[in-house]
Amino acid sequence: MPNHSEVSLGSASPGNNFNLSIAELKEMAKKLRRHVITMTATAGSGHPGGSLSAADIITAFYFKVLRHDPENPRWPDRDRFILSKGHAAPILYAALAEAGYFPVAELATLRKLDSRLQGHTDRKLTPGVEMSAGSLGMGLSFAIGVALAARLDFKTYRTYVLLSDGECEEGQTWEAALSAAHFKLDNLTTIVDCNGMQLSGWTRDIMNLEPFTRKWQAFGWHTLDIDGHDFKQILSACQRAEKIKGQPTAIIARTIKGKGISFMENNVAFHGKAPTWEEAERALKELE
């Protein structure tokens, strides 16, 4: 794993009032993981595994990296964070609620009739959600449109899109990878939450993606390999990506599915299954 620790972490981007320290980010990530457990257990369904693998990445973005304003979710100059792996909606909702886009109490309505928190993200319903998702492989294309619009309008916002490694099996992801490099979108950064697993097992057994980083390089992207659970590496990778000119950057974040809960880690059973209340209690104890 390359060492990015020489890059200073600096202050939060202008427009992000959260600016948490690394220690605070770790606490926030733990809090968001607790929300994921409680939300999915309450809903009785959902995708905890891929939400937990993305927890540190999403915490870093909403509480440090992004310029955003929860009071004004459609602020035209906001940085865009697009969740392409729409099944990780619970972790995004948890971050949005803690950031102030809507009341934390609303998290308990996940997947319930008339809730603003749909099973997969819905651009029309949820404040702070940039795009509807849930059919995999579509988010990077959307992000390209958003990044092209920034260029057309001379805006300086940055566009970030979070993919799963599994969704890189979708052909559209590679159509989009070609396009972003072709259009030289250096205002676009892709983060791939590489937890190595998908619904029915390990990606290497189901549809091998390796050599993964080299694929992105071959498609014309600058790449950064990081540990997706190390805040220093996440933050410094974002800073580096901002400095790369003439091509988009892909941050290949190696993560662990179910990260943070011993019996969920690398356990494919929790891809699309909520914990029982008994499991949830055990999980919450581990997250104290």
Binding site: D122, M138, I144, G171, Q172
Partner: protein, 313 residues
């Protein structure tokens, strides 16, 4: 056919340039076929607002969604089969569900694509796009109506699908005709039966009405350029006043204009109906005129359907 002809796609290309001059927010995407869809005119005048996405149609629909979510009015063009049939899931989740301001204006609709064969014959598109909840679906009858439809798409928010043809098509409107979105147009009055037609079948219906007049059948002809939302009032009026309806379209039997009109007739004013369409099959390579004859989409076929529906009154 003795009517003057013009190309709907050439009209589209020219209209896009006009719109581009009026509205700097208009952006156009194409997938390597701009010389055929005629978005090349726009590309030449506004290179910064034109993106050739290459052969990444699914990606192109997503890119369009991202631009639209950032405030742009986005026109997306390629051949019908490659954007409607290939990209249905993208149309659904990237445009229809989030109700984004993207206009799919696709050329090479129907079997009049001709020699390229069944891979290129777009005959399922109206069923697919009419199935999408927030979409407006328009099939212009001629080049004059195409210009009006494209302008209406630019000035009305939300996802649109407009189907254009490859060959030049007969002009059925006088110069100065004003297209009204969502409104049927009575092309010819009549009291014995009504042909509701769309696209190139409008010219065929008018020719059929002339033939029927010589056989003492007074046939009304309605053009239904907007399939969704449908002008239900015009359908009910035609059913009430003429007592029989024939629907003619260059499309499969299922899910197109015929199905949509039948739903209204069944519910609001049941009368005998007949359908002129491709049935449930793919066509083969051939000249457009040859294919229209082979697959039963000529004025003669409309005449036969009208005669048969009138007998059932």
């Amino acid at each position: 056919m003795s009517m003057a002809e013009a190309s709907t796609r050439e009209t589209y290309g020219k209209t896009l340039v006009e719109l581009g001059r009026e509205n700097p927010n208009i952006v156009v995407l194409d997938a390597d076929v701009s010389p055929s869809t005629m978005t090349s005119f726009f590309a030449r005048e506004f290179p910064d607002r034109f993106f050739n996405c290459g052969l990444t149609e699914q990606n192109m629909v997503g890119v369009a969604a991202g631009l639209a979510a950032s405030g742009k009015t986005v026109f997306v063009s390629t051949f019908v089969v490659f954007v409607v049939c290939r990209c249905f899931d993208q149309l659904r989740l990237c445009l229809s569900q989030p109700e984004l301001n993207v206009k799919i204006v696709a050329t090479h609709g129907g079997i009049t694509v001709g020699e390229d064969g069944s891979s290129h014959h777009a005959i399922e598109d109206l069923a697919l796009t009419c199935a999408l909840p927030s979409f407006t679906v328009v099939v212009p009858a001629d080049a004059i109506e195409a210009a009006g439809a494209v302008k209406a798409a630019a000035s009305n928010y939300g996802p649109f699908y407009i189907r254009l043809s490859r060959p030049k098509t007969p002009i059925v409107y006088p110069e100065g005709y004003h297209f009204t979105l969502g409104k049927a147009v009575t092309m010819r009055q009549g009291k014995d039966a009504t042909v509701i037609a769309v696209g190139i079948m409008v010219a065929g219906a008018l020719e059929a009405a002339d033939i029927l007049a010589r056989q003492n059948i007074d046939c009304r002809v309605i053009n239904m350029p907007t399939l969704k939302p449908l002008d239900e009032a015009a359908i009910v009026k035609a059913a009430s006043e003429t007592g029989a309806i024939v629907v003619a379209e260059e499309h499969l039997a299922q899910g197109g204009l015929g199905s949509r009109v039948a739903q209204v007739v069944t519910r609001k004013k049941p009368v005998p109906m007949e359908f002129v369409n491709l049935g449930d099959r793919y066509a083969v390579s051939g000249k457009a005129e040859e294919l229209l004859q082979r697959y039963g989409l000529t004025a003669r076929d409309i005449v036969e359907s009208v005669r048969s529906v009138v007998k059932r009154k």
